[in-house]
């Protein structure tokens, strides 16, 4: 007797027979799975091909790569047909380092290398220890010595002469280094049970987040001198830095607050039960968990910040974008600003893309 089941014992649906060339198979599933899809692919391929061909013609085939010093006639000859990459070797020292004394430009260059090394080391999870903080302090001190000089036989360079990539990196790094603790304090303040502290934090965060960074920078450049006692003046770069720190603090506070909310109540109660004080409770129990929760959004905020430092152009501070814009004021090279902007965009892109890749890899490891 065989048991009669209501499910006939059908063979399991076999996978589609894998015949033919794997390339053709890939094309069929990914580009030509249906008629409308096929039409779309053909149209896109045509547009893409046209775009790539005209870019290659402009950017490579017809481009001028090198010219004799300060002679843009070769570029002018191909204007409209080809790119003038010759402007980059001509101007890169100014774009990268601004008006820093020419013979001393190895110092900002070394600072940039130090910054990048510092960022790279900070992304290694194995190095997330107390020593990393000391390393940061040491490296930032070293960078200050390099940039200012005045000791160890290095000639002093006032910060009025700083410019280009180091200024962008300084604004972003110090903005985050000081904005981060400020953000933690404000986030704690916003969740505090004490009404006066809570409302002060709310007003600060909402006021800063409600207005554009441009207006804060204006405030730093125009109103700050009014705020200070007469005769007391702070350097323009430092004023912009303060505005960026205040701005960063408000945005980071909101991200960190999200992390604080994600820490389960039991953790707070357990810390209270151990008799920890408010500060020890947050330092030892709550904050480590809260910040771990929000590392990916924190990195995204860092990216936003790095890009936002370019706004100091509006108040005339020589960051990377401002030096680029100034480099093309030179009448001989005025018409080739697109090439310079592409060069600077590539630098910004490299930094931001690296950070966003890192953020994505963090998300992937934390989701596991």
């Amino acid at each position: 007797m065989t048991a009669i089941t209501d499910m006939p014992d059908l063979p399991r649906p076999a996978r589609r027979p894998q015949i033919g060339n794997p390339v053709l198979r890939w094309l069929r599933t990914n580009l030509f799975s249906s008629i409308p899809n096929g039409i779309l692919s053909v149209v896109l391929l045509a547009v893409l091909a046209k775009g790539v061909i005209s870019f290659v013609q402009w950017g490579i085939a017809n481009a001028v790569w090198l010219t004799p010093a300060n002679d843009s006639s070769a570029c002018k000859a191909v204007r409209g047909l080809g790119a003038c990459w010759a402007i980059i070797p001509e101007k890169y020292r100014f774009i990268l380092f601004g008006t820093y004394p020419f013979d001393e430009q190895w110092r900002p260059a070394l600072s940039v290398v130090l910054f990048i090394a510092l960022f790279y080391l900070s992304t290694r999870r194995a190095l997330w220890r107390r020593e990393l903080a000391y390393l940061w302090i040491g490296a930032l001190a070293l960078i200050s010595v390099l940039m200012w000089g005045g000791v160890f036989g290095l000639p002093f360079v006032s910060q009025d002469r700083w410019g280009g990539l180091p200024v962008t990196l300084i604004l972003a790094t110090f903005g985050l280094a000081f904005g981060f603790p400020l953000g933690i304090l404000v986030a704690l303040g916003r969740r505090s049970k004490l009404p006066a502290i809570r409302s002060l934090s709310v007003v600060y965060v909402e006021l800063i987040r409600g207005v554009p960074l441009v207006s804060l920078l204006f405030m730093a450049s125009v109103m700050f001198p009014l705020f200070m006692p007469s005769g007391f003046n702070i350097d323009k770069l430092l004023r912009a830095q303060i505005a960026i720190i205040l701005f960063a603090g408000a945005y980071l506070a909101e991200v960190i607050r999200g992390g604080l909310q994600a820490v389960p109540r039991g953790q707070y109660e357990a810390a209270d039960a151990l008799g920890l004080s408010y500060w020890r409770k947050h330092r030892l129990v709550v904050l480590p968990q809260a910040i771990r929760h929000v590392i990916p959004p924190l990195v995204n905020t860092f990216i936003a910040f790095f890009k936002d430092t370019s706004l100091v152009l509006i108040i005339g501070i020589f960051d990377l974008l401002t030096t680029a814009k100034t480099a093309i004021i030179d009448p001989a090279w005025q018409q080739f600003s697109v090439e310079v902007y592409i060069f600077v965009a590539a630098i910004y892109f490299a930094f931001c893309f690296a950070m966003s890749r890192y953020s994505r890899s963090l998300e992937a490891t934390s989701a596991r």
């Binding site: 799975s33 502290i197 409600g210 554009p212 706004l311 902007y341 892109f349």
Partner: protein
Amino acid sequence: MTSDDPRPPPRRGFFGALGPNELKGLFWQVLVVGIAVAVIAFLWSNTVTNLSARRITTGFSFLGREAGMPIADSLLAYNPRDSYLWAFVVGVANTLRVAVIGVVLATILGTLIGISRLSANWLLSRLAAVYVEVLRDIPLLLQLLFWYVLMQALPAARAAWRPVEGVFLSNRGLILPAIPLGSTQLWVLGTAVLGCAAFLVIQRWLVAQQMRDGKPRPAWPFALGLIVVLPAAVSLSLGVSWKIEWPELRGFNFVGGLTLAPEYFALLIALVTYTSAFIAEIVRSGIQSVPRGQWDAASALGLRRSFMLRQIILPQALRVIVPPMTSQYLNLTKNSSLAVAIGYQDVVSVANTTLNQTGQAIEAISLIMAVFLTISLGISFFMNWFNARIALSER
């Protein structure tokens, strides 16, 4: 249970009823507020001294004076003889003009790109991913300067590009054919808007009826009547002309049509493309957040695809999409202040000129802040209301 010791009486602080914790809290609050007040008072007294030393009178009385600044491109009638107050209003109108249109276009473009990223077509999804990655990782100000340089490099009016008949692209900006809007045309459009509102009310009522007896009632006759027939009737009875005005090249410039100045056009393109990259990511993650089972369940019920998308998928996706979308809209509005870098006269640019001309720094900057805080709060309120409407109604 031998321990019958009476608990020690709680220690009384100096303030009697306050326990040690409350006392500590009070101490911290007094300290922090005290520091805040001291800092503000210090800055305030310095400011007052500095202002009197520079002979600048504080107050908003300067707003009544003649502005004398040119505003090239404005929605409202303006000439340099008008007051600073009116210049500010024109600036606010310019900010709103770029922000409102930017939000609408960025939403449309961002949604399209977000959907493209999920397309089964490999090429389309890769292209969308590249678009998002490149635009997100380059500062907006750099993109804005780039677009502006491209605008200036366009041919002169005489040699303007003509991608489509009646559309001209030159270094004077983008010139489009337009329908001149007078008061009669606005009446007709107003009727159409009212018709839309009435239709929404009727549609809700029809759905309520269907809930009661289960009989479907068609809504389209109402839509046709209220949104198409009614405005058409008004238009016919008033004899409104809807003639399209085609731009023409006369001499060195264009006559007629709608002109988007290069500054405005560059700012709009930069804001829309930049924000659309962020919106695309929001839309993509919103759609991906709807579990696959919801699609399967809806198709198992035999629902049509459009109905499924509208009634099952979209309401769930929107819950994830709306809150981050709000902050993108706010960002776009705040980013429109970058206009000052290319000389489009939005409110920040007008305030900056005012500040340079009059020295009224505090007033000018507080006006900027007031305008942006108002706009931000307005958008937040609207989006919170919308969010509450679509939020999950738990049983």
